[in-house]
Symmetry: C2
């Protein structure tokens, strides 16, 4: 797991500012991600996480009730509130945002490796579902902010249904990278954004 | 697991026409799906599958090398070659095909429950990846056949890039049902197909 994969936003534990606690949290989050990627949700036990992270089981139990709470904590560690780009160019802003999402979903990234297990766990654990939804919402909200601004600036046709555009921007990215492991490199993202914008708003022809 | 979830197309074992072998295969496929949905890939062991399916371990080993082969067999059982509808109405045909895919992805269906684990396993097991790709291709191919026919009949604008349309038809369905657990009922499928067709081919206004 690369350090840059883990956002430094506040989670349940990170709200304590004690640097020892922050270091523990980071080791625990990495251990949970490793176990989840290698063994699936059934492989995340308090004993294994304690051993992998090099912390005492009593320390784990001080902050987390059990494996589900650990997975929820890990999901939170990936909540990375993206800066909303504002270059004045709608297509460029969308390519930058969606390109960042595509990088996180590339198959060698930690998030891509744990996401199938997180999805499976979210079906049965409401707390993991809630965290996973918050995780996804940060990205959808950033894309929506870019589209809202473009509408205000009359860069998008007024008849455009933004929910449809969001589905069409995000959906193929997940289908390709998660379900099919097809290419979603920068070139694909550029073509994809251009196609969606042009289809929805024919006045937006390629520059 | 409902019987109708499991397609009766030939897999490794189904090629034997002995009805006892077919019944064994069916019980094994159901057991693998149950274990996978409940415990993830690490929960699929030869011992548990034999016990759940009520077959001898020696019988399992006669047909399958190990747990990965069992999961691959289960994926094959879901390869359901859809009839390509041809009502003469492009939108209706797409709604029927995509509506069938949406039903298979609804959260209580077996396929939706095992798909995250299949995706996770496909990342590390080439044989599972190959079967999962074949599974996905049957659906993409059916959609493509409907679009190709519409192009021949001049029901789609000739400039339309069919790969883009396929991404835009399938992607949001998987993102919504698999990643977000949002609504993908018949009404959503109808609105979605209409929006994609209208955006790509503005001459296709709602009937």
């Amino acid at each position: 797991m690369r350090d840059k994969d883990v956002a430094q936003t506040p989670g349940a534990v990170a709200q304590h500012l004690d640097p020892r606690v922050l270091r523990t949290r980071k080791r625990v989050v990495h251990a949970v991600a490793r176990l989840l990627a290698e063994r699936g949700i059934a492989g995340v036990t308090m004993e294994r996480v304690a051993s992998e992270a090099g912390v005492a089981r009593s320390t784990l139990y001080r902050y987390w009730d059990g494996p589900d709470a650990l997975v929820a904590e890990m999901v939170d560690a990936f909540v990375d509130i993206p800066d909303v780009p504002d270059s004045g160019d709608l297509r460029r802003d969308l390519v930058n945002l969606l390109g960042g999402m595509a990088e996180q979903l590339q198959s060698e990234s930690t998030w891509a490796q744990v996401l199938p297990s997180v999805i499976a766990a979210a079906r049965v654990e409401p707390e993991i579902r809630r965290r996973a939804d918050r995780q996804a919402s940060t990205r959808v909200d950033a894309l929506r902010a870019v589209l809202d601004r473009a509408t205000e600036r009359h860069q998008l046709d007024t008849h455009v249904d933004l929910d449809v555009v969001l589905d069409q921007l995000i959906g193929p990215l997940y289908y390709r990278s998660l379900v099919r492991e097809l290419d979603t490199d920068r070139g694909w993202v550029q073509d994809h954004v251009a196609a969606v914008l042009h289809a929805q708003s024919p006045s937006l022809r390629p520059a």
